[in-house]
Subunit: 449 residues, 2 copies
């Protein structure tokens, strides 16, 4: 057996290997599995399971001894905006629609300039590499060249991602508005063709249909995107019920639809009645989704990306994530840069727990708050399931067959004075983890940090 | 003129010097003063003012060129618990009273062991040195030797602090309960005498009366502490209206008092009718303080330490900090380790803004949310005023005469792609600042990082 006492040992090339450490992962929304001083096996970029004693068949594999360190699945960011990274933490005194006009749209216009886009996207991707997320769902801008450049940068980083060229043909500045629904659809199809033609180049990076939201897409554009979704069985990402002024506007724009989610459904951009057969949809926010909409999401397998920090920053509110979980809506967490200011999904986990407590306390409602187990599930297996449904391999779990996305975390400085359980060390890590505690980060079995 | 291009230049010894940079500070709760590429002068450990051109009289002083860097006052933590540092981020599924029993009290019992206390307190103080706070109000435990050890560690660190030996003679575990009110008072007096006898040793570290809260102090003890406060004109720190179960219990314990704050007042531990003449009181939390209590605080000059993260973590709620500011209650921010998990007052600033938005959105009340200016004021000059009133020199401001507590922040990596105003750079810094961006930290004119 080859051994190595560093987290990096034996695993650089993406081959098969074993990590020994204090291993922990979600086996369901409320179930945390912890295995102290155990062995996590990577075979062909996938987990072959966790064992308290290493089976003899793996004896010959390189072993990384990470004894005393936490080994957990990589974190999944189900919703973020790459072009908003450089101005995160700005304009936080505004609500959504005003902030889009004052900050988001003027910045996104700059991505017409490919050189600017490459510079800004490089900062974004370099930042992500250092953090705990291994997979991300990303909005780019309307610009195809910049979107392809972002995809190349993400591919080089080793992260797994789905990236959307954004569609917008109304209610946005001239510099950002696509000329017509036809022009937007045409650009989208050409972009998808380019991605398909370079499929070998984009092993970890896939395109996803990305109507920004109903406000910025005409009926014709939404209908066209719905047709494209059906034809190519593509996944979809968009925004849903984030802000009350936004919802009122959508009601006016789609008077025939029975709600915001139903409007997406009416354009065939809201999952499927047979969700197991179709590429999935993820909707960010769902702050004001009512019972009917929550049930519609559950029926059609539409994922919710809960973005607690963004929803606080932009005064949107607090999403009923506990109700969504109870109703069977598949869900994960999003950083929503730059509505949110922190990209780490650890931060999203602790934020999600905190706001669920404020929701119960302030509204005085008899609703369970989000537990550590649930927040950890949302940020790992919950979000990771989206990638599985989209045909990119599921992650966020160490069960055999899951993609091998893993973090090795050195929490020794946090836990020196007490003999903490793995559960408690995970709780501390969720609340405090700094990037420098992440000693190694594997994506699909490949060491990228 | 001696110049130096590093933040440290010329200022290590605590002498007089000048810092050139992009300077920014609060001149009132809603007023931010920004002076690009200006000169901040330190004379005798105090600010001599900020100048857009350096007056000739300061020509001979050493100059630190921090051009392009933000120079702001040091941050003030008005409420934290030193012995809770090592278990921060644990037990976050509990509310206050349960969490005190399950986590706080068992840990605090260990501080009977001086060796353990020194080890744990060293971790706490080392951590604080690296962060943005320059002044802190600290709860220790009931144990006098450990409290003195903490004071020595804080003094060595160069930070300015007020430290409380905690008083508790009821409703806590045997291992933590002081034998009687008389024993608690006696230990407190001896501790104060030791501090007075070594006044030269504790230039930056002062004792403060610290009844934990009404629940853990008998009437006799509270009365005795009130007498001690009057006799020695001592400042006081405690907890007020954090949690609804706590408040109900206090009502039972003090049936004759007209509320929680009024109970402290009845024991003479709640500021003074002539606040300008007496050492000040600070009360942490005030989540459920009503109009009457808020007015009582304003009348008696009682400071509120707003601890937004802790109040979310322990499901306490959201304090009406905007109402307190409007009513004229002096206020600042607290990290409340380990109810809060992050010691940085930058985090407390952004948390305070976020929860004030959630408060308005969820309660649907017509109340202004906290602005960046107000949050920055609270975390600098607002809290810094407490030290001034307690006779330790005020800070959090660069007006001439303020103690020279300052941070030099390199935010160049955040602001590379846009030409941001100082206001916007401050906003980004509040939301994102990592400790490694703090290039220099001065306390009373002395460089401590």
């Amino acid at each position: 057996m080859h051994t190595d006492t560093t987290a990096e040992g034996g695993a650089k090339g993406g081959g098969d290997f074993v990590i020994q450490g204090d291993i922990c992962w979600s086996t369901g929304p409320r179930a945390l599995k912890t295995m102290p001083d155990s062995f996590l096996v990577c075979k062909g970029g996938k987990s072959a399971g966790v064992f308290d004693r290493l089976p003899r068949q793996y004896d010959a594999l390189p072993l990384s001894r990470c004894c005393g360190k936490l080994v957990i699945p990589g974190l999944v960011d189900l919703h973020t905006h790459a072009p908003q990274f450089v101005y995160r933490g700005l304009g936080m005194d505004r609500e959504l629609l005003e902030w889009l006009s004052s900050h988001a749209f003027p910045e996104e216009e700059k991505y017409h300039d490919l050189a600017y886009a490459c510079k800004a996207y490089s900062l974004f991707v370099e930042h992500l590499k250092r953090g705990p997320n291994t997979r991300i769902m990303v909005f780019a801008t309307v610009h195809v060249p910049a979107t392809l450049a972002l995809m190349s940068l993400l591919e080089e980083s080793g992260l797994v991602s789905m990236v959307g060229k954004v569609n917008m043909d109304r209610n946005c500045p001239d510099g950002l508005r696509e000329e017509s629904a036809a022009a937007s659809l045409d650009a989208t199809e050409k972009w998808l063709e380019t991605c398909a033609a370079h499929k070998d180049k984009y092993a970890n990076t896939r395109p996803i249909l990305t109507p920004r939201f109903i406000i910025s897409c005409s009926d014709e554009l939404l209908r066209g995107l719905g047709a494209l979704r059906r034809e190519l069985n593509l996944p979809v990402q968009s925004h849903l019920c984030e802000n009350r002024a936004e919802i009122a506007w959508v009601r006016k724009l789609c008077p025939a639809s029975d709600g915001y989610g139903a409007a997406y459904r009416d354009f065939d951009l809201f999952g499927s009645a047979l969700p197991q057969e179709a590429a999935p949809t993820v909707m960010a926010h769902c702050v004001w989704s009512d019972e009917k909409e929550i049930n519609l999401m559950a029926e059609r397998g539409v994922f919710a990306a809960h973005c607690p920090q963004s929803n606080a920053n932009l005064s949107s509110g607090i999403a009923p994530v506990r109700r969504m979980l109870s109703a069977g809506v598949p869900a994960g967490l999003g950083s929503d840069i730059a509505g949110g200011t922190n990209s780490s999904i650890f931060r999203a986990m602790s934020d999600a727990i905190q706001v669920s407590k404020l929701r119960r306390t302030l509204l005085n409602i008899d609703e369970e708050t989000l537990s550590l187990e649930e927040a950890f599930y949302l940020g790992t297996a919950g979000g990771g399931a989206f990638f599985g449904k989209a045909g990119m391999g599921y992650c966020g779990s160490f069960e055999p067959g899951a993609d091998f996305d893993a973090l090795v975390i050195n929490d020794s400085a946090l836990a020196t004075l007490s003999n903490l359980s793995i559960h408690d060390r995970l709780e501390q890590t969720v609340y405090i983890c700094d990037n420098h505690r992440i000693e190694a980060k594997y994506v699909r079995g490949r060491l990228i940090k």
